[in-house]
């Protein structure tokens, strides 16, 4: 009887082993020849702050007026050289990466855009333009694209690049008429991906 039980258990073990093929040997050695990093300029790290025309000349944030259009971000034009101080640098080695950006929500007076008293400015009132050249004319408002919520897969900052790149930005904001005198915020994100799907 004991013999039978022993044989039975041996066969049971074989039964489970039947569902395993050869153990997969996982090679987790470092492959540090394939990597990337993303860097934002000092001014872009602080955030995108919009200002009026006086502020744009002085690189200082001043209040905006309801109903005005194409208000510049504070550092669109550095007052010493006319260049933008907003850029993203992607260092890429051994891979192809794409980079996208976007806002997490509309511009809202309440965090998270919640509450009955929240006032919302649609995020597509903010627009951006990019260029690999940085001078008075580039990036240009004539190529500007409205912001979207989430990551803008249709308008990637960098697409399938395997070489390091610096991309320069300018930003503008239209303030809808009759907007109340609140402080409006949202969150801006930049993402790097290897499969071209942001």
């Amino acid at each position: 009887m004991l013999k039978k039980i022993l044989i039975f258990f041996v066969l049971l073990v074989i039964l489970f082993k039947a569902n395993e093929s050869t153990d997969f040997v996982m090679n987790t050695s470092l492959q540090n020849s394939i990597y990337y990093y993303i860097q934002t300029s000092a001014e872009l790290s602080k955030g995108i702050l919009f200002t009026n025309s006086t502020g744009a000349n002085q690189n200082v944030q001043y209040m905006l007026v309801s109903g005005t259009t194409n208000n510049n971000a504070v550092w669109n034009y550095n007052n010493s050289n006319g260049k933008t101080e907003y850029w993203v640098y992607a260092y890429i080695q051994g891979a192809e990466i794409s980079v996208c950006h976007g806002a997490t929500n509309h511009l809202c007076s309440n965090p998270g855009c919640i509450g009955i008293d929240n006032y919302l400015i649609n995020i597509n009132n903010a627009k951006w333009s990019k260029s690999e050249t940085n001078d008075l004319n580039n990036p240009s408002i004539s190529n500007s694209i409205p912001f979207v919520i989430g990551f803008d897969n249709q308008n990637k900052i960098i697409q399938n690049s395997d070489v390091p790149k610096t991309i320069y930005f300018r930003y503008w904001l239209d303030v809808p008429p009759n907007s109340p005198p609140y402080i409006f915020n949202t969150t801006y994100q930049i993402i790097g991906v290897v499969d071209n799907e942001c």
Binding site: K4, F8, L11, L12, I14, L15, A18, N19, D23, F24, M26, T28, L30, Q31, N32, I34, Y35, Y36, Y37, I38, Q39, T40, A42, L44, S45, K46, G47, I48, L49, F50, Q61, M63, L64, V65, S66, Y89, Y91, A95, I97, A103, I121, A126, L173, V175, N178, S179, P180, P181, I183, N185, T186, T187, Y188, Q189, I190, I191, G192, V193, V194, D195
Partner: protein, 180 residues
């Protein structure tokens, strides 16, 4: 009357410098056998001049369903300034293949059978007014129960058991005959 107001697209931080975050490996493929656990390290580094705090999470999708048995540790850390690939910080990624797992859908429990493919992405996000997110892909093949193999072995076991019983009965009969 002028209605004046301030609009800020981000929270303001008094003084900051350039920020950065990097990651490797960027793409891995792995097969996980039934009841096994896969562990690997993802590494992050920061070539900029200032430390950054990062939040880490992972998301795995099998078709349009999210797979729950996947973890990262830590979920938050500081990546020191002036680091590169040679002194990067590790993040531990764990993917389990329990075969039987709890479901959030109509069926309470599910069983993995055959081979199932899923895409996992590790996200490392800086805690800055302008967040930078770097990602790493892990393509996973989850191997489930192989019912055809199981069935064959089960049939063999049953046949073997009844075979043993028959032989045993015959032996007992012969012993009785010998005694008589």
């Amino acid at each position: 009357m002028n209605a004046k107001f301030i609009i800020a697209l981000f929270l303001m931080i008094p003084i900051v410098s350039s920020s950065s975050i990097g990651i490797f490996p960027v793409n891995e493929s792995v097969t996980i056998q039934p009841f096994k656990t896969f562990k690997t390290n993802i590494y992050v580094f920061n070539p900029s001049e200032k430390d950054v705090n990062v939040d880490i999470n992972v998301s795995c999708k099998m078709g349009d369903k999210y797979y729950e048995n996947v973890y990262v540790h830590p979920k938050r850390m500081t990546v020191e300034k002036n680091t590169n690939v040679t002194d990067a910080k590790p993040i531990l990624l764990t993917v389990k293949n329990p075969v039987f797992f709890e479901n959030k859908g109509v069926t309470k429990y599910s069983v993995t059978t055959g081979e199932n493919y899923m895409k996992c992405k590790v996200y490392v996000k800086t805690d800055e007014p302008t967040s930078i997110i770097v990602t790493s892909n892990i393509n996973v093949k989850l191997v489930g129960l192989n019912f055809s193999k199981l069935f064959f072995v089960l049939v063999f076991l049953i046949a073997f058991y009844f075979g043993i019983r028959k032989i045993d009965k015959k032996n007992k009969k012969n012993k009785k005959k010998d005694k008589a």
